[in-house]
C-alpha cells in the first residue's frame, strides 16, 4: 500500500503531463469554455428547475438536444473506425420518419411501428454495407447514393397515405422521445442504455478489435483470419440502426414527418463529433465516449448561439470558428509550434 502511495506522489507531475497530452482534455476543455461563456451571456444559464414533471434548463437542453446527433455520431464512429464514412444518415432519418407516419396512418399498433422503423434503418444500413463490403464501392460514393435518393424515397412513402398532412399523435412514441422517467427525459435514459450496450459490444467483445484492425489494415487483418467484409457490413448496419433510433426520436419530437428537411446536414455534425472526439478519418480507432463529448460540444455551441441574441447570419460562422479552435488545440503540430514560440520568448 505504502509503495503505491509513493509512486502516486512521484508521478504527480507526470500525471499532469499525461493529462495535458491526453486526447480527452481538449474537447472537455472546449465544452467547459463554451458553458462558461454561455454563463456570461445569460446569467441564468445554469438554472435547472422542474417543469411539467421533468428537469428543465439550458444544461438539460444541451444533453436532450444532443441525443440524436450523439446516436448518429456513435454509428458514424464505428463506420469511420473501419476506414469508411456514412453520408446517408440524414436520409435514413428522413426515411424512418416517413415510415413511422405512414404506418401510423395505416393504423398499425405503435409498438409494432417502433420495430418497423428500426427495421427500415437496418435495411438502409444493409444496403450501404452491401455496396461497400460486397461490391467494394468507395464508402463516400456508396453512401452518397442513399444520401441523395433517401429524401426522395421518404417523399414517395409520404405519398402512400396522401401526404398532405403528415402530423400525428402517438403517446407511446412521443413518450420515448419527449417523456420523462423520474424527472429525467426518457430519451436520455434510453440513449445511456444504448451507449452502454454499444460500449459492451465494441469493448467487451472482439468486434471493436476487429473493426479497428480492419480500419487499420484490411489486407493484414484478412490474412490474420478476420473476415473484413463481414465486419464492414456489420458496421454500416449498426450505423443504420442507430440512425433509425435518432429518426424515431426526431420524428416523435416534432409530431410530423418532413423528409425534405429533417436532420439536414446531420452527417456533417456526426463526422465532426467523431473528429472532435479524437477519431481519425483514416480509420483504425473508435472512441465512443469521446464521440459523445464531441456531440455535446456541438450542441452546447448551438444552444449558446441561440440564446446569445446574435442575428442568425452568425450561427454558422461562430460554429466554424469554435470547431477550428478545438481542432487547432488537438493538433500536436500546432501545440508544439505555440510551445516553441512561448519558450523562445524569455531568451
Amino acid at each position: 500500500m505504502a509503495s503505491t502511495d509513493s509512486t502516486a506522489e512521484h508521478s504527480a507531475p507526470g500525471r499532469v503531463k499525461a493529462i495535458a497530452q491526453s486526447r480527452a482534455i481538449w474537447p472537455l476543455l472546449a465544452l467547459a469554455l463554451i458553458l462558461i461563456v454561455a454563463g456570461f451571456i445569460s446569467p441564468n444559464f445554469y438554472e435547472i428547475r422542474i417543469v411539467e414533471g421533468r428537469l428543465f434548463g439550458n444544461l438539460i437542453d444541451i444533453l436532450y438536444r444532443a441525443v440524436p446527433t450523439a446516436l448518429v455520431a456513435l454509428g458514424m464512429a464505428v463506420v469511420i473506425g473501419t476506414r469508411g464514412i456514412d453520408l446517408s444518415v440524414g436520409s435514413i432519418i428522413a426515411i424512418v420518419g416517413a415510415v413511422i407516419v405512414w404506418r401510423i396512418k395505416m393504423g398499425d399498433p405503435h409498438v409494432t411501428i417502433l420495430f418497423t422503423a428500426l427495421a427500415a434503418g437496418i435495411l438502409c444500413g444493409m444496403w450501404n454495407g452491401f455496396l461497400v463490403a460486397a461490391l467494394g464501392i468507395q464508402p463516400i460514393i456508396a453512401t452518397l447514393i442513399l444520401m441523395v435518393s433517401g429524401r426522395g424515397i421518404g417523399m414517395l412513402i409520404n405519398l402512400l397515405y396522401g401526404g398532405t398532412d403528415p402530423s400525428f399523435e402517438s403517446a407511446f412514441l412521443q413518450g420515448l422521445s419527449t417523456g420523462s422517467i423520474w424527472l429525467i427525459p426518457t430519451r436520455l435514459v434510453l440513449a445511456a442504455g444504448i451507449f452502454l450496450a454499444l460500449w459492451l459490444l465494441i469493448r467487451r467483445t472482439a468486434l471493436g478489435l476487429f473493426v479497428e484492425s480492419v480500419g487499420g489494415n484490411a489486407a493484414a487483418s484478412n490474412l490474420a483470419g478476420v473476415n473484413a467484409r463481414v465486419i464492414v457490413f456489420v458496421a454500416y448496419v449498426l450505423c443504420g440502426l442507430l440512425s433509425a433510433w435518432a429518426g424515431i426520436i426526431m420524428t416523435a419530437d416534432t409530431h410530423t414527418s418532413d423528409p425534405v428537411s429533417v436532420a439536414l446536414y446531420i452527417e456533417l455534425d456526426a463526422i465532426l463529433a467523431v473528429v472532435i472526439g479524437g477519431g481519425s478519418l483514416a480509420g483504425g480507432r473508435i472512441y465512443l465516449g469521446m464521440t459523445v463529448i464531441g456531440a455535446l460540444v456541438i450542441q452546447a455551441l448551438t444552444t449558446a448561439t441561440l440564446i446569445s441574441g446574435l442575428p442568425p447570419e452568425y450561427n454558422l460562422i461562430i460554429k466554424a470558428l469554435v470547431v477550428l479552435s478545438v481542432l487547432f488545440l488537438q493538433s500536436a503540430n500546432a501545440r508544439n509550434a505555440i510551445r516553441g514560440l512561448v519558450s523562445r520568448k524569455p531568451s
Binding site: 441564468n44 417543469v51 411539467e52 438536444r65 402530423s167 418532413d258 428537411s261 439536414l264 441574441g309 442575428p311
Partner: protein, 304 residues
C-alpha cells in the same frame, strides 16, 4: 423513348383540345414542374378552374428545365394560342422567346416567380403572392390584437431566402409604426418544425419562460407548430399566454387554430386560378395597359 412518348402524347392532347372547343379562349400554361406540396396543388387548381372559366388550357410541365419551358412556349406560339401563362423556372434568359411571342401578337402573363427582361413591355403583367404583404398582414393583425403594445419573438425562415427576407421586412415595417411594439429575439428555424421547436426552447430559457413576451411570429406554420410544442412542454399555454401568428395556412395549423393553440395564419394560396384567369380574359377582351405586378392577396385566418 419516354420523351418521344410524352411528346407524342402532348401532340395528341393538343389536337383533341383544339378540335374540341373552337369558341373558347385557348391559353397555354407552362408550369415549372411538380416539386413540393404547393406546386402540384397549384397546377391542379389551374386545370380545374380553367373549366369554370371556359378556358381551353394547354398545360405543359417543364420538369424544372428551362429548355423544356422555352420549347413549350414556342409550341404555344406555333399553335397560335390566344394567351400564354408562364410560371418561370428561372428569372433570366427570357428576352428572345418573349420577343417571338410579341411578334406573334400573343400576350404573355407571368405567375409565381418574376423574370428579368430589359423591355418590360414583353409581358403584360405578373400575377403572384407578395411575401412582404404577408408579413405586413401578420404585423397588422398583431398590432390590432395587442393594441399596439407587444414584445415579439420571431422565428425566421432560412437565412437569406426570399420569403424570409420579405416576410421579415413587411412585419418590421408595420411594427415600426408602433413605438411599443418590438422584436426582442429573432433566430432562424430554417422553415422546419424541428428548427422552430429548438429555437423556441432556447427563447423560453433566455426570456425566463417568455416573461413579458406577448407574441410569437413565425415565417411559416411548420416552425410555429414546433414552437407550440416547445411551449406546451415547458408548461406554457400557446395561444393564451402568447399570441401565435404565422404564414402559409397548412392543414396542421388549422387544427392548432381550432384547438386555440395558434391565433392567426396568413394563407399562401395554391387556389389561384380565380385570380389569374379573370385578369387574362379581361385583357383578351379589352387590351389595356396593366400594372406590372398584380398581387394575389393572402387571407388571414383566425380561430373563429
Amino acid at each position: 423513348m419516354i420523351r418521344k412518348f410524352a411528346l407524342a402524347g402532348a401532340a395528341l392532347a393538343a389536337t383533341t383540345f383544339m378540335s374540341g372547343t373552337a369558341l373558347a379562349q385557348t391559353i397555354g400554361f407552362s408550369q415549372v414542374g411538380s416539386e413540393g406540396d404547393w406546386r402540384p396543388a397549384f397546377s391542379a387548381n389551374m386545370q380545374e378552374s380553367a373549366k369554370e372559366y371556359g378556358v381551353d388550357l394547354k398545360f405543359a410541365n417543364a420538369q424544372g428545365k428551362q429548355e423544356e419551358q422555352l420549347r413549350a412556349v414556342r409550341a404555344f406560339i406555333a399553335q397560335g394560342v390566344d394567351a400564354i401563362i408562364i410560371a418561370p423556372v428561372v428569372v433570366t434568359g427570357w428576352d428572345q422567346v418573349l420577343r417571338e411571342a410579341k411578334e406573334a401578337e400573343i400576350p404573355v402573363f407571368l405567375v409565381d416567380r418574376d423574370v428579368d427582361v430589359e423591355d418590360k413591355s414583353l409581358y403584360v403583367t405578373r400575377i403572384s403572392a407578395d411575401f412582404n404583404l404577408e408579413g405586413k398582414l401578420a404585423g397588422a393583425w398583431l398590432a390590432a390584437e395587442s393594441l399596439g403594445d407587444c414584445k415579439v419573438v420571431e422565428l425566421q425562415g432560412t437565412t437569406g431566402s426570399a420569403p424570409a427576407i420579405e416576410r421579415k421586412g413587411g412585419f418590421e415595417a408595420v411594427l415600426d409604426q408602433f413605438p411599443a411594439m418590438e422584436i426582442v429575439a429573432s433566430q432562424s428555424g430554417d422553415f422546419t418544425t424541428d428548427g422552430g421547436k429548438k429555437v423556441m426552447e432556447a427563447f423560453i430559457k433566455s426570456t425566463n419562460n417568455l416573461e413579458g413576451i406577448c407574441a410569437s411570429f413565425a415565417h411559416n406554420d411548420n416552425m410555429q407548430l414546433g414552437a407550440i410544442q416547445a411551449m406546451k412542454e415547458a408548461g406554457l399555454k400557446p395561444g393564451e399566454d402568447v399570441l401565435m401568428v404565422s404564414v402559409d395556412y397548412v392543414p396542421a395549423i388549422k387544427d392548432a387554430l381550432d384547438a386555440g393553440e395558434a391565433n392567426a395564419s396568413v394563407e399562401l394560396r395554391s387556389a389561384v386560378g380565380e385570380f389569374i384567369y379573370p385578369v387574362v380574359l379581361d385583357y383578351l377582351k379589352n387590351p389595356t395597359e396593366l400594372d406590372k405586378w398584380i398581387v394575389i392577396p393572402g387571407d388571414l385566418h383566425t380561430a373563429d
